[in-house]
Amino acid sequence: MELLGVSARELARLVRGGEVSAREVAQAYLDRIGQTEEKVHAYLARLPERALADADRVDAARVRGDELGPLAGVPVGLKDIFVTRGVPTSCGSRMLADWEPSYDGSHVRRIAEAGGVLLGKLAMDEFAMGSSNENTPFSPVHNPWALDHVPGGSSGGSAAAVAAGSCALSLGTDTGGSIRQPASLCGVVGIKPTYGRVSRHGMVAFASSLDQAGPFARDVRDAALMLGVIAGHDPNDATSLRAEVPDYVAACDAGISGARVGVHRAALEIDGLDADVRSAFERSLEVLAEAGAHLVDIELPHFEYAIATYYVLATAEASSNLARYDGVRYGLRESRDSLLSMYEATREAGFGDEVKRRIMLGTFVLRADSYEQYYGRAMRVRTLIAQDYTRAFESCDLIASPVSPVPGWKLGERVSDPLAMYLADVFTIGVNLAGLPGMSVPGGFSTGSPRLPIGLQLIGPRLSEPRLFAAGAAYEAATSWHTERPPEVSS
């Protein structure tokens, strides 16, 4: 049976019905990893024994007559930011390269309870800081659509693995766009849920008021399936929401007839918006209108300040969250005669350049004498940004926008200018600041060579994931971008 082209929902159905064993599914994906990894480098750790053990457990449960979960036998990859008991969780850094957690985080537990099978830990920008998966002491990830191009970041491995078919579903995290942007660059579906929708317990913290975990999948319904598994209140995360988790897969059938889709036209005039990205977006708006949506113009007056706001707040939070990596309790220790030398030597050896830069920026903006000028001010601009979206949603039900101003660029092309890299987040970052859900769906391709994916972003009010799934599914039904597969890694 050809298992690799089948959706995750269908795989789970086949396993639950006994038509295929979980072991057979796992083996097919392990073989696929073997075929693709030399080119893509999506995995930091491949876990064949663990995968087969997980699969055998699902098969045994079926034989016993136990009820199998929604991910029964579905092979999953996890960004290496998710804490896995007994399995190194490096967070893409030398600092934690050998750190073996003594517990499973909420995501691992929920996926296991749902019957999911863990294939491995996926590559990422170090400590989730980056937009190209090049901020890494390990191998960078290669975009399956063009192997000398970036997959995006920081969840580059999670996006690339789904695009290459070396896992059926994956999880990533998004603090300023790190799910949506790599989803766009790799031609897959990615969703960052409402802040608090998914627990952050067992997810190494970068910026605690912005981080959210979310799924990557090849189609909208598969993403909905995974979100349903990981969403929900967690007593171990005081910021997780008590709101009920609706049936996201069912929500995909609602259609968008009559939905008002807001478009922020001013944003399309930014410097550096690629012509193909712009025309793909305009075509996507036509598709949405043909599916029954009404397009309305909206304003986001503080849109141009979102990146600056983010790089004050996220770096401040990161400098605080990463203070714990000092050689004492976690991972790397550079032994020295004094505590201070040990801290400094450990952090020098353990952190890459981008991490150090952001820690230093965060340290700067939090200094007592400049608090009001930077952190205090950015916290006020954040309120204004959140209010912009609230006001916009008075006249529309969801907002459509591009995801990345450009398709995936060449490896090495942007590494020397950190600020240029930051500006690539212009369409995604405000969504994190406002705590809103945002989804990227495959929305077209560039016209040149190589042919590179271009995503469409859909943004909604808090807890409007059902609406986003309905819109994403309606868009998918009217297009075929999501059915294409990267030629460079075809079997």
């Binding site: 750190w99 073996e100 003594s102 517990y103 802040y195 608090g196 008021s209 007593p235 005081a238 910021t239 997780s240 008590r242 503080h302 141009e304 300040y305 600056a308 706001t309 790089y311 004050v312 203070a323 000092d326 050689g327 004492v328 309790r329 976690y330 991972g331 220790r333 032994s335 020295r336 005669d337 505590l339 201070l340 400094e344 952090r347 020098e348 952190f351 150090k356 830069r357 820690i359 230093m360 920026l361 340290t363 700067f364 200094r367 930077y374 205090g376 001010r377 950015a378 916290m379 006020r380 601009v381 954040r382 309120t383 204004l384 950190p418 600020l419 930051y422 600041l433 705590g435 808090r462």
Partner: protein, 94 residues
């Protein structure tokens, strides 16, 4: 331009020791980023409160002892541990 001494002072605060290469490149990079961040000065924030998010209430659990990691489990990932303690360089004179 962020002065080299300023970069050094920030590194100290952040418990980072910079390499020579970093001492070369960081001041300029940080200066560019800070100049970009300074655009926030253009925003009128008069009367605007700091962002508090959408949390309804502080959601704390009851103060009850429950299942938790044993000391051995908690120490299993620590670089150096002995007799149920984390080992660190000596920092107190006897």
């Amino acid at each position: 331009m962020v002065a080299p001494e300023e970069t050094e002072a920030l590194a100290r605060l952040a418990r980072l020791s910079l390499s020579d290469a970093e001492r070369e490149t960081f001041p300029g990079q940080l200066a560019r980023i800070l100049a970009y961040i300074d655009t926030l000065a253009q925003v009128d924030v008069e009367g605007v409160d700091e962002y508090v998010g959408e949390q309804d209430a502080l959601d704390l659990r009851d103060d009850e002892v429950g299942p938790m990691l044993s000391a051995d489990e908690a120490l299993s990932g620590v670089p150096a541990a002995r007799d149920g303690h984390v080992v660190v360089p000596k920092f107190k004179e006897d």
